[in-house]
């Protein structure tokens, strides 16, 4: 076919392995991609940067055959190709590692891999290939382990192995480090560099600018569905990359103004809870104290009891002893979530859709969801819909929540906008105590900065804040002290200035100081223990 002539001449250098030219994708009136050009060459790790809603996912899905572009062409070695479905993309050598793993929890590693393999490849032969790949790349996996028993890093290895078994020429990775510990991320980087050196192309999508600067030699930056620039990220600073992504200079968060500390506002006293279910984590003897004006960061790898700790703090699961949870000096372990809210506490769970918000309900109804017990939104059991709408409007204005129409359904908002809404809903209540789990997970840089600033400002006004996060950068940015949750036990909090990523990384991996937190917990924010410096 006369494809090569139809494709625009590659700009500089040899014919790219894969190219996308003039990609336009419209969903109704909304244009997700607007004339996007992208060239990916063999042997490079190419970063795709952009805020949530910039069109990264759409472009990625077009390259993987999940969506077809409205206009524009995709080329493979200069020839125009049509990627009608993922099979066609895979046949051309395009593989994909998804951000949210598509694995069946109750099947084993080998079974999960066999699911996407040709039927002929099963049993012993498959197990051998998995083992060989594992040895080659350092992707160690036990084919017989059931997936539910694996960590996020191990699950990601399954996805990568699944992808590599098809010997891809281009691997698309969507936010691959969002669920990994620093150590696991390092191991991943080694694998990615190895793949690059083998001459494969990698398209790397991430919010973490320092990773992009470290790994990638070229970056394409999207904003509002258009390419706003390509650059060599190694020659840029994280701040200049972020500025290109959001279009305006992103300032780091302002330090909080230190307000009058009000003494201990949130206390957990030897809180022990059995595991809530088959795959849950029991909480073991957890003690913490957070003073007014203080932000305590809780680091840890997903699945080490974060959800259980959050539920115990929020009252969604109740403590066996009333005194195990104290809010502003009052025993609250036996209280439900609304009683705790009435004591001045507020909570932001990790999962936006389906926990913090009801996706099909409007924002005003979602404002009711957590505020009906504490805000004047009902009268004699009747909803004051006008008041709820006014509250939602205030939230939308204060936190710049963008959605379609004046009162859109929560499920139609992008992740960053819904998170701003959910965080804003709690912070606008001026809680004395705020517990927030993964405040900026999967949120773009501008929204994340806004959320962090709001949390800092709240603490500056005298509230006690607990931030549970897997993002160490975030904790270093906003927390006064950091403790690590590992296997349901919490390490002693250490002032942020007195610890390091390496030290926390070891604690997150279960090595470091022994978890014997008996007796009186350290009075925050005083320094009791020196960080284990390694």
């Amino acid at each position: 076919m006369a494809a090569a002539s139809a494709a625009p001449a590659p700009r500089g250098g040899p014919t790219p392995l894969f190219g996308a030219y003039g990609i336009v994708k419209r969903f109704g009136a909304f244009t997700a991609n607007d004339g996007v050009d992208l060239e990916i060459r063999a042997g490079e790790i190419h970063a795709l940067l952009g805020e949530n809603g910039a069109g990264k996912s759409t472009l990625m899905k077009i390259l993987y055959g999940l969506l077809e572009p409205t206009e524009g062409v995709v080329t493979h070695q200069g020839d125009i190709v049509r990627l009608a479905n993922p099979e066609a993309a895979r046949a051309l050598g395009i593989g994909m590692v998804f951000q949210l793993f598509s694995l069946c929890e109750n099947l084993t590693v080998a079974e999960n891999i066999a699911l996407v393999m040709p039927a002929a490849l099963t049993g012993r032969a498959l197990a051998e290939r998995i083992a060989r790949l594992g040895a080659d790349y350092g992707l160690h996996l036990d084919p017989a382990r059931p997936v539910w028993s694996l960590s996020a890093g191990e699950r990601q290895r399954i996805e990568i192995v699944r992808c590599l078994l098809q010997n891809p020429k281009l691997v698309i990775l969507d936010e691959p480090t969002s669920v990994l510990t620093p150590g696991e991320a390092e191991a991943l980087f080694a694998v990615l560099e190895r793949l690059r050196d083998e001459g494969r192309a990698l398209l790397y999508i991430s919010h973490r600018l320092d990773e992009v600067r470290r790994l990638c030699t070229r970056a394409t930056i999207l904003r509002g569905g258009r390419v706003v620039g390509t650059c060599d990220p190694r020659a840029e600073s994280a701040r200049s990359l972020a500025a290109m992504m959001v279009g305006t200079g992103v300032s780091g968060v302002r330090p909080k103004s230190v307000g009058g500390s009000r003494g201990e506002r949130l206390v957990l006293d030897r809180l022990t809870l059995p595991a809530p279910g088959l795959h849950g984590t029991p909480l073991r003897d957890i003690a913490l104290r957070v003073a007014g004006g203080e932000i305590l960061g809780i680091a840890g790898i997903a699945g080490n009891g974060q959800a259980e700790l959050f539920d115990a703090l929020s009252g969604e699961s109740r403590a066996p002893a009333a005194g195990a949870v104290r809010l502003d000096g009052r025993a609250a372990g036996h209280l439900g979530i609304n009683a705790r809210r009435r004591l001045g506490a507020a909570f932001v769970p990790e999962e936006r859709n389906g926990h913090a918000a009801v996706p099909p309900m409007s924002l005003s109804e979602n404002a009711l969801l957590s505020r009906h017990a504490t805000a004047p939104l009902t009268r004699f059991g009747l909803l004051r819909l006008g008041a709820a709408r006014a509250l939602a409007r205030r939230l939308i204005d204060a936190f710049d929540v963008r959605g379609a129409g004046p009162d859109p359904a929560a499920g139609t908002l992008s992740g960053g906008n819904l998170q701003k809404f959910v965080v804003g809903r709690e912070i606008l209540a001026e809680p004395g105590i705020l517990v927030i789990n993964q405040p900026t997970w999967g949120v773009d840089a501008a929204a994340a900065a806004r959320i962090r600033q709001a949390v800092l400002d709240l603490a500056g006004r005298g509230s006690a804040v607990v931030v549970i996060s897997q993002d160490l950068d975030e904790l270093f940015e906003i927390a006064d002290s950091i403790a690590v949750l590992h296997a349901g036990a919490l390490s002693r909090p250490v002032p942020t200035g007195a610890t390091s990523r390496a030290a926390l990384g070891l604690l997150m991996g279960g090595v470091g100081e022994p978890e014997t937190q008996t007796g009186e917990p350290p009075a925050a924010p005083a320094i009791r223990t020196a960080a284990p410096v390694l």
Partner: protein, 363 residues
Amino acid sequence: MRLDLLPRARRSPWLDLLAPALAFLAAVLIGGIAVAILGVPPGQAFLTYFVAPLSEVWSLQEVALKAAPLALIATGLAFCYRANLWNIGAEGQYVAGGLAGGWVAVAAHGSQGPTVWILPAMLLAGTLAGIAYAMIPALLRVRLGVSEILTSLMLVYVAQLLLDYMVRGPLRDPQGYNFPQSVSFEDAARLPLLMEGESLHAGVLISGLAIALAALVLARTLFGFEVRAVGASPRAARFAGFSDARLTLAVFAISGGAAGLAGICEVAGRIGQLQPEISPGYGFTAIIVAFLGRLSPPGILLAALVIALTTIGGEGAQIDLKLPLDLTRAFQGLLLGLVLGADVLTRYHVRIVPGGAGAKVTP
């Protein structure tokens, strides 16, 4: 080849209204073909089914009298189904309500003194009996985790046999020549007629009021919000501080109370005595009505009228056109299937994916 259902980004409100109308049209067309195969001109059958019942005063009243209990029971069930709780036993709660209310009427029969209390006491007893009977599956679920689907369904037969025993035994009319039925209620124990010499009685008004109240509760109260939130997202409802157990008991109480009230309204209205059969399956048909009306009170009211219309029309078709009753039932089932199918199409669009199935990973 494979079919993928992809959620629509936005739902058009017009499509939401149009979809059930188109589903109804499709059901009529398919029904017309079936009628033609049975050797009856479809046009004539259409007139008998859908137009004739609306053309005379008596048949209009029949439609209203049939629609009232259906809509009342279905509205109660909508609370359960919205909260993802499956009360299949409204028929039993209906029978319990009719029996308890009828019992009051039998007990008060022939008593001296004022009689104004009898009818309110019957309605109250019927409603409370429906609630109490629905509490059995609700408590079993809350306390022991027993599936409410099985228990509520099985309790239907218990209630029916209890009624059967009562009208053959303790509540039988001593002067009734051993017929299995109670005394005929006195006027004070009957729902008053709305028009002299006609059949429409006050039960229709009671149903209408109850449905309006339910619509208000569902849309405008915190409790209604709770029901909707639990149905849409149980985890988020717990985050809102709503208790599963309390909600389970509450929605079962509402659906049981509504069914019980419908039961006593039928007994105190049209029937006027207790007998072994007091329901032509209202409690089960109401499940269809609830889903046909998409679990919203206005929709349920409309669906109840459509089902009542086809039932009355079906009786006419049996007499005038010798068409079987099963045709009516098949049509009602067809209508439900098409409405639910149309509902799926308003929320998703279908993408046909050619090629092999199975070995595909989509996010």
